[in-house]
């Protein structure tokens, strides 16, 4: 019996990342003594909070090569994606634009797929493209879809949340623009993990999440290009904050946390990635030795270092998770937890239901240590052995779905 760690080992950094202690320190004074409403421009406490919000806006902008005026704060990437996609479509329709097609990809985050599904009911024409078995999207397929009908928007995520695959943003943006469409990318998993430059990549709209880059939950941002100007309809109205695009009191402490997270990411991304890639290699080597036959899903190189998505040879992933309560990994994306269906991302790669049910996502992050990796390998190997059905069993376990 291995000794139980004091805390569970957290290897689910694509579901959420722990808040960096430096982020917590940056936020705390704004929760407590500097609690002014950042829109209370009439008094000193309001102006103090407002100035800090603007500094944070600068940090977010700097991380993606944007102008601070192009950053709109939201409650998270889901809201950013909804504003970007529905906002672009509805604004275009309201201003007489005839384009109706919206092109996206099967492996997008649920909120993108749901947003385009909502738009289908408003008369838009969503086109959902397949991906190749390695998770990347085929540019020729995208071009064909963009050219087949007047297209309003192409939305492709920068980094996939389950399999870590990188898409070729610059090429996708070029294709979108050649077809007269806007290009949006859900960069929730990419921000602070890969170099993003909205100018060099010619991105029009880009969604950011705070809690995926060691910032707090409950805050995100949307980059909205100013030149040429991208116009959006607001999702909801109110006090007219964020130039009317996103009403509601800005949560200054959370925004300051997001800004600090972006500042840290900009300074430390390279070091983080190098260290995390080393841990990833250690994990893969350890698993391949302990459990012959493990398969890494999706493209072997075009991926962020922190994602290891693995199909195990013998045992059901849920049974493995039950057998290792001190290891936090996941069987798919962390959304509505009740779903026991196979991951639509994995099936889009061509995995069978049976293979998808034997798959775990292991997310390595800034605070993962080599000993965490070693302990995780031991736990995974034991859980795999325990949960693998033995040929001598009289009754086979129920078929995993």
């Amino acid at each position: 019996m291995i000794e139980r760690p004091n805390r569970p080992i957290y290897l689910d950094n694509q579901a959420t990342t722990p808040c960096d202690p430096r982020v917590v320190q940056a936020m705390l004074p704004f929760f407590t003594e500097h609690f002014g409403n950042p829109h209370s421009a009439e008094h000193a406490m309001g102006r103090f909070a407002e100035a800090a919000v603007e500094t944070a806006r600068g940090h977010v902008a700097a991380l993606i090569g944007a102008d601070p005026r192009e950053v709109v704060f939201t409650s998270g990437a889901t809201e950013s994606n909804n504003i970007a996609i529905k906002g672009a479509a509805r604004h275009a329709a309201q201003s007489g634009n005839e384009r109706r097609r919206i092109v996206t990809v099967q492996t997008e985050h649920k909120c993108v797929l749901e947003a385009v599904a909502d738009l289908a009911m408003e008369g838009f024409e969503p086109v959902i493209l397949p991906v190749r078995p390695d998770g990347t999207v085929d540019l020729a397929t995208v071009r064909t879809a963009l050219e087949a009908a007047p297209t309003l928007l192409l939305s492709v995520m920068a980094v996939n949340n389950e399999i870590g695959v990188l898409q070729d943003l610059a090429s996708l943006a070029a294709l979108a623009h050649a077809a007269g469409a806007l290009f949006h990318t859900d960069a929730a998993q990419a921000t602070g993990k890969i170099l993003l430059d909205v100018e060099a990549m010619k991105i029009d709209l880009l969604s950011i999440s705070g809690h995926k880059l060691y910032g707090p939950k409950g805050v995100g941002a949307l980059y909205v290009r100013r030149r040429p100007r991208v116009r959006l309809a607001a999702l909801f109205s109110g006090g007219g904050q964020e130039r009317g695009l996103r009403s509601g009191t800005l949560p200054a402490p959370l925004i300051i946390g997001l800004g600090e997270a972006c500042r840290i990411a900009r300074a430390e991304m390279e070091d983080d990635n190098r260290r995390i890639a080393g841990l990833r290699d250690r994990m893969m080597a350890g698993l391949e030795q302990a459990i012959p036959g493990v398969v890494l899903n999706a493209h072997p190189e075009r991926r962020i270092p922190g994602n290891v998505n693995i199909t195990f040879p013998g045992s059901d992933a849920q049974a493995m998770m039950a057998a290792m309560p001190d290891l936090c990994v996941s069987t798919g994306s962390a959304c509505s937890s009740a779903e026991v269906e196979p991951s639509y991302v994995l099936t889009a790669l061509g995995l069978s239901y049976a293979a998808a049910a034997r798959t775990l996502r292991i997310g390595i992050g800034r605070f993962t240590s080599p000993s965490d990796i070693d302990a995780a390998i031991t736990m995974l190997a034991r859980a795999h052995a325990m949960a693998t059905p033995q040929p001598s069993e009289a009754c086979p376990p129920p078929c995993p779905r």
Binding site: F31, G76, E79, N82, G239, Q241, G244, G248, L254
Partner: protein, 363 residues
């Protein structure tokens, strides 16, 4: 510096701070099924039960949002279903903007919604009514329970913006008989960045934020757990400490008595009001001049709602009350939960000094 702008944002309560820090520490995504995720989920569901218990809802009826504005927007988006919108004349912009093209329920000179006018509007066809419990500028309380009875009789829906009332007066969705109710964390002494929509029963809800099925499919996106946990703790503390409002009323009365002596008019003075809020109009003196003067003296008050930055427009609330001539001359003083007698005392001195100086200039 003395902070008297609680209706823009309340100072964080210690209970909220502790809950916020614990939730930050817990860290995981409440939708994750592993041990850390389940621990986060327990915090989320405990917060849901707290908010439900504080405001007379069922836990299943609580939808967490990013704040009061989103909660109000979600209510209209989710429940309206083609009904005509009818809104109070002194509603917050969050409701007025969500309800463009609406019919308006006028208020009387006291600032109270005219229920006779509401009844007449309801007779015109299926409606969804939005009425605030307490006004953000004057603190005037509206007869929401009576409005709910009218709505029920006519088959109309009623959404209540209780952002300013929650934690300052007893608020009970079931007792009010409304269909939905919005609250905001930072107006109760919780952190910025969380709110909730409370639904009576279990209506079908089309989400405003489509997403991963969180909040039982009614609001997508990873819940902002630290701010939500902070809101729940603040709500509990505020509701348990409602007696504190009696103390604040005493301070408010001292401020009003002195201001009236200095020539100010209290908007909504004849109406039942929140204990912590007063709207002081100084005839002939621009509100922004007063606010700047008080700011320099170290007092943080406001000229109305704190919304889009830099906006110091004249108050639509006072205009609706027939106080149009005073609408550009009112400052809002709103006492935070931790205001002390000393704060009120020093504010009175500063106000009298300012009123004497600026009113003389007018005269």
């Amino acid at each position: 510096m003395t902070y008297l702008d609680a209706n823009a944002s309340e100072p964080l309560r210690p209970e909220a701070r502790a809950a916020l820090l614990a939730a930050l520490e817990a860290g995981a995504n409440p939708s994750s099924v592993h041990a850390a995720g389940r621990a986060a989920r327990r915090i989320l569901e405990a917060a849901r039960e707290d908010i439900a218990a504080c405001f007379g809802a069922s836990p299943a009826g609580v939808v967490f949002t990013s704040g009061g504005t989103e909660a109000n927007a979600l209510a209209v988006h989710a429940l309206r279903a083609g009904r005509r919108l009818v809104v109070g004349a002194t509603e917050h912009d969050a409701v007025r903007a969500a309800a463009r093209g609406m019919a308006v329920v006028p208020v009387d000179r006291r600032g109270i919604a005219d229920l006779g006018a509401l009844a007449a509007l309801l007779a015109e066809g299926p409606a969804m009514v939005c009425l605030m419990l307490a006004n953000n500028e004057t603190g005037v309380l509206h007869p929401v329970a009576a409005a709910a009875a009218l709505c029920r009789a006519q088959g109309a829906l009623l959404h209540v913006d209780a952002v300013q009332a929650a934690g300052r007066v007893a608020v009970d969705l079931a007792a009010l008989g409304a269909d939905s109710l919005a609250v905001s964390g930072h107006k109760m002494g919780g952190p910025l960045g969380a709110g909730a929509l409370l639904l009576a029963g279990d209506p079908a809800v089309t989400p405003l934020l489509a997403g991963g099925g969180q909040e039982r499919g009614r609001r997508g996106g990873t819940p902002g757990l630290p701010a939500i946990a902070g809101m729940a703790a603040a709500g509990r503390a505020a509701v348990a400490g409602l007696a504190n409002q009696v103390r604040l009323a005493g301070l408010r009365d001292r401020i009003e008595a002195a201001a009236v002596q200095a020539g100010a008019i209290v908007a909504g003075a004849a109406a039942p009001r929140l204990a912590n809020t007063t709207s002081l109009a100084l005839p002939g003196v621009r509100a922004d001049t007063q606010v700047i003067s008080l700011d320099l003296a170290g007092f943080q008050v406001s000229a109305g709602a704190a919304c889009s930055s830099g906006k110091v427009a004249s108050s639509h609330v006072l205009a609706a009350m027939g106080l149009g001539a005073l609408a550009g001359s009112a400052v809002r003083v709103s006492l935070p939960w931790n205001a002390m007698a000393e704060d009120a005392h020093r504010f009175v001195a500063a106000y009298l000094e300012m009123a004497g100086r600026l009113s003389r200039r007018v005269a």
